[in-house]
């Protein structure tokens, strides 16, 4: 019953997010709006109810399972990926390394600047 209540909260917030995105013609995806609204709710309530905690924990504990069906879609694109495996492969590896490094380094610089600003 707890899990059901928690899942219901998540699905209802997603639904509200999707409806808001459509009504207000927002370019932001529905689930992301739903997440922002739930976050605001938790800040106002000052805490997550136990059923929500449980459902969120179960879903996030095996988050990677949810990507498996999309990954199997590689079957549909065997030809394109086979023809263009070199540019795709190099672009994926280089871009992944660059994104990891740029994000981490920018955040470290920003944190140092913020710390210095705080002292001064």
């Amino acid at each position: 019953m707890e899990f059901l209540t928690g899942m219901t909260i998540l699905v209802v917030y997603q639904l509200i997010g999707e409806v808001m995105a459509l009504l207000l013609r927002l370019p932001i995806p529905g689930p992301v709006i739903g997440m922002a609204l739930l976050f605001l709710t938790l800040l106002i309530r000052r805490g997550a109810p136990a059923p929500l905690d449980q459902a969120a924990g179960s879903l996030l504990g095996h988050l990677s399972l949810l990507f498996v069906p999309a990954g199997v879609g590689v079957l549909v694109h065997f030809h394109r990926i086979g023809d263009e495996w070199m540019p795709i492969g190099v672009a994926l590896v280089l871009s992944t390394l660059a994104t990891l490094a740029v994000t981490a380094l920018v955040m470290r610089v920003m944190m140092r600047l913020a710390a210095r600003g705080g002292e001064g």
Binding site: Q14, G34, L59, S64, V68, P69, T103, A114
Partner: protein, 242 residues
Amino acid sequence: MRADLADIWVYLSASPLLGLAATLLAYLAAWHLYRRAGANPLLNPVAVAVGLLIVFLLVTGIPYGRYFEGAQFVHFLLGPATVALAVPLYRQSSRLRTLWLPVGVAVLAGACTAALSAAVTARLLGATPVTALSLAPKSVTAPVAMGISERIGGLPSLTAVLVVMTGILGAVLGAKVFDLLRIRDDGIRGVAMGTTSHGIGTARAFQISGEMGAFSGLAMALTALASSLVLPWLMRFAARLI
């Protein structure tokens, strides 16, 4: 007897139950293998499960479309799981309050780097424009990336595959890059992991620490937000360059 078995197979291969059961079994097998190997990142459970399922579909001759009729029940949960990220985010809200500016700037820089470096590299090495555009949102979580891909002129289903590949690559390479750059703060590691490798990176981050997972989840959500706002504009600009 053989005819009976054949009849049962015809029924099963047309029913969504088989695709769903195969997805769950493949993931559980991959998960146990990963645990047995001492959580070796090279045996990423998504990569192993996808490999097992591809072999299964090729051997049985079941087309992807029919497989997805069953697997969509798992795929659908990506939406509620994105909403669920609000919970770990809330737990980190006190640390977040002091870090919102560094996190925001880092995510924006990372999201632009991901899209531009992937699309430009692929195009320079001879990929078709459609492939390059499909690569652009590859660091964004799957459902959002597919929407962006459609808007900028890529192939959403190809983007979904590239998103999963990027997720696995980031989960495998992340720790090495952080060690090389001497980044030890779990907050920074989490933000870089989530910006680069969305949910797959976040799943890996949660295995390292709760703090890294929460920051990764936050970065994944912010990357989805920033990319849906910035990428359509950024790619129009990049199209003139490449």
